[in-house]
């Protein structure tokens, strides 16, 4: 039995964590993630979970202790944002390279220089090549659902890789929204018990984790990781199918919105996709064949599947809430263009870098982007390939 509640994104994720009942959580506060760990620590204080909560002195130690706990056979979680994720960077690679199925909510926030506490995706994008699975959520419901599904995805024997469950800082993390939460027992049954094949606390079978791995085997271990990443798509879909049976809510690698007969579309991650849906509706009323592609699974990147749904469009705008500073556009833009190239798709693709540091992105902003696409289709002329949207001259 599920129930309808109104919670902030952070509260929703903390509830998911309570229902997951991890053996160990090691975490450190950082805006806008803090409410997750402080809500969760109350569950610990009230004896609602079996979790040992390790109040580490930094995010680096948060990820380090989570790695230790996970290697010890515990279901281990942490949560972070922005600079905290950046501080973990070294250990992110160790977690995935050691094949530990850690699940970590990341409340997306701009990275410093200068400091800014508001939403963009520069934190998650900095970790996109770390062999962590990355799921993005449009709203609290998805953040909650993704957190639960991530346990199953990460712990699958063909995967055994960690997952970041991303949600937009403040916009989702601090906004109260209506959502459905599952009954505790349904979550418990859905995720099952974590039974690792090997772990540090097996007295009959001691193991060594994290050795010096030189020229003769390191490469093979990386190949194993790459194979596991390739397995992720199928596992994500399989878990989603089971989750739909339980909840009625449908998840895939991405969501298409009015895309089937569309001529132009935007492609986005996170909460902006929700605003874009409203924009699509408005444009459709004006007779403009607009659609949307919302990416849920960003890493591994489902390039082939994405190219398949985009290849018959005339023009797309890729919305990046992060900069690569490569001068060739945002991270999502690069991936989408590569996917289209491989599919030999004749689709004009432009890039909007938008919303950095929490700059609000309104309905009319997205509508403007669609109108630009419409102009491109009509004139065949691309005036700007990589565009900063909403920045003052």
């Amino acid at each position: 039995m599920s129930s309808k509640v109104a919670l902030t994104g952070n509260e929703a994720v903390a509830q998911a964590m309570r229902q997951i009942n991890p053996d160990v959580v090691a975490a450190y506060p950082i805006t806008p993630q803090t409410a997750i760990v402080q809500t969760f620590s109350q569950f610990v204080a009230d004896g609602e979970v079996d979790t040992e909560y390790v109040t580490v002195e930094s995010e680096h130690s948060a990820m380090s202790a989570t790695v230790g706990a996970s290697a010890a056979g515990a279901r281990a979680m942490t949560a972070t944002a922005a600079n905290g994720l950046a501080l973990m960077w070294e250990v992110l690679y160790i977690a995935s390279g050691t094949r530990l199925p850690i699940v970590m909510p990341v409340v997306n926030r701009a990275l410093s220089g200068p400091i800014n506490i508001h939403c963009d995706h520069s934190d998650a994008m900095g970790a996109r090549d770390s062999s962590w699975i990355q799921l993005f959520a449009e709203n609290s419901q998805e953040a909650y659902d993704n957190t639960i599904q991530a346990i199953r995805i990460s712990e699958h024997k063909d995967v055994m890789l960690p997952t970041m469950v991303n949600m937009d800082g403040f916009i989702i993390s601090h906004a109260v929204e209506s959502l459905e939460v599952l009954a505790d027992n349904d979550v418990k049954e859905f995720i099952g018990d974590y039974e690792p094949k090997t772990h540090l606390l097996d007295p009959e079978n001691p193991i060594a984790v994290g050795p010096l791995d030189l020229q003769d085997f390191y490469f093979e271990h990386k190949k194993q990781q790459s194979v596991a990443m390739r397995n992720v798509k199928d596992i994500v879909l399989g878990v989603a199918k089971e989750y739909k049976k339980l909840t009625g809510r449908e998840y895939g690698l991405f969501e298409t919105y009015r895309l089937d007969d569309a001529e132009i579309a935007t492609i986005a991650l996170g909460s902006t996709a929700g605003t874009a849906k409203a924009a699509v509706d408005n444009l459709r009323e004006q007779g403009i064949k607009a659609g949307l592609l919302k990416i849920r699974l960003f890493r591994p990147f489902p390039a082939w599947e994405i190219a398949k749904v985009l290849k018959d469009l005339k023009a797309v705008a890729v919305l990046d809430r992060a900069e690569t500073f490569s001068t060739t556009g945002g991270p999502l833009f690069a991936d989408i263009r590569a996917a289209l190239y491989d599919a030999k798709a004749d689709v004009e693709a432009i890039n909007y870098i938008y919303g950095l540091g929490g700059r609000d992105t309104k309905l009319e902003d997205i509508e403007y982007m669609y109108h630009t696409l419409k102009d491109i289709v009509e004139t065949g002329e691309v005036k700007g390939r990589v565009n900063y949207y909403g920045v003052r001259e």
């Binding site: 160990v24 090691a26 680096h60 010890a72 515990a74 281990a76 606390l201 984790v209 994290g210």
Partner: protein, 306 residues
């Protein structure tokens, strides 16, 4: 415990590791591991011991072992220990364990200091062992905050105007005492029974314990391999590396040299201090002597020996 009795304990750290010939970390690790009465999970900071003991696909550890990174051995073992507590509480496992983290002085005094301090403050039931060889030996002898004054290292070289490292070493043992943990000790392998007793004590106390153990590095100290243990005795006799322990805040001296020797004798046997014996550097040795005497006096007072 007599050594011949200690020799009946089971071997937990095997030969076939690739520490240098004459490395002080070898006996220190072997003796400490033999002092544990439970199965253990060993953590190690990146460093000589870690690199030499776990080169894929070989492990010199008969117990479970985890290396995570350079600066996080204490945090990593915190996580393992928390996992053990959680799984025991839930009845998912039954075995008692000892939790140990090994770090060199670089991984302990410097880059791993925050992680160590955090783990000690949180009160994890773990033993942190620093094998202090006084520099970043794994990367080729760079100075750390444990490097003694005057030492010639590759980042504090003795040059025409600067005579090696200019600062005295950090007294990490004292800082660990300030964490108010149940047990802190400074030890040395030339007293193997004392070292094993301290390790046993560290495993036995409820909560965190910290051992700071002198572990000569023939390569970095420019000393002869066979002199490794002898040098640790000289360190104690010159009061450069005194042996003491602090149990629940109470200081106790474990070794009082019958005849206190001049630091000269300590410095002279190591190539890293060679330049100090050049003309014009006499004052440095005098200052090191003065500093050592002051430090020794403080320890005597704290241990109620004066």
């Amino acid at each position: 415990m007599k050594l011949k009795e200690a020799a009946r304990t089971s071997e937990r750290f095997t030969g076939g590791h690739r520490l240098c010939s004459g490395c002080g970390a070898g006996p220190v690790t072997n003796l400490i591991m033999r002092s544990s009465k439970n199965p253990a999970v060993v953590g190690a900071a990146t460093g000589c011991l870690e690199v030499s003991s776990s080169i894929y696909p070989y492990s010199a550890w008969k117990d479970s072992f985890i290396h995570n990174a350079f600066e996080n051995a204490a945090a990593t073992i915190s996580g393992v220990e928390a996992a053990h507590r959680s799984l025991m509480k839930q009845g998912k496992i039954e075995e008692d364990y000892d939790f140990i983290a090994f770090g060199g002085d670089g991984g302990t005094y410097d880059i791993g200091f925050q992680s160590l301090s955090g783990a000690m403050e949180r009160g994890h039931n773990m033993v942190y062992v620093c094998y202090d060889n006084g520099a970043y030996m794994n990367t080729g002898i760079q100075r750390s905050s444990a490097t003694p004054r005057g030492a010639n290292t590759t980042t504090s070289p003795a040059g025409k105007v600067i005579p090696g490292k200019e600062e005295y070493r950090k007294e990490l043992t004292d800082i660990m005492v300030a964490h108010n943990i149940p047990y802190v000790a400074q030890a040395s392998p030339f007293k193997p029974q004392d070292l094993m007793r301290k390790a046993q004590k560290a495993f036995e106390v409820d909560g965190p314990a910290f051992l700071n153990v002198l572990a000569p590095c023939p390569r970095g100290w420019r000393s002869r391999a066979e002199k490794t243990i002898e040098l640790t005795k000289v360190a104690a006799d010159t009061c450069v590396w005194p042996l003491f322990e602090i149990e629940n805040g109470k200081w106790k001296l474990n070794y009082n040299p019958k005849k206190k020797k001049a630091v000269d004798e300590w410095l002279r046997q190591q190539g890293r201090f060679k330049h100090l014996f050049k003309k014009g550097n006499e004052h440095i040795i005098e200052e090191i002597q003065e500093h050592t005497d002051q430090r020794w006096q403080i320890i005597l007072e704290r241990c109620g020996e004066v």
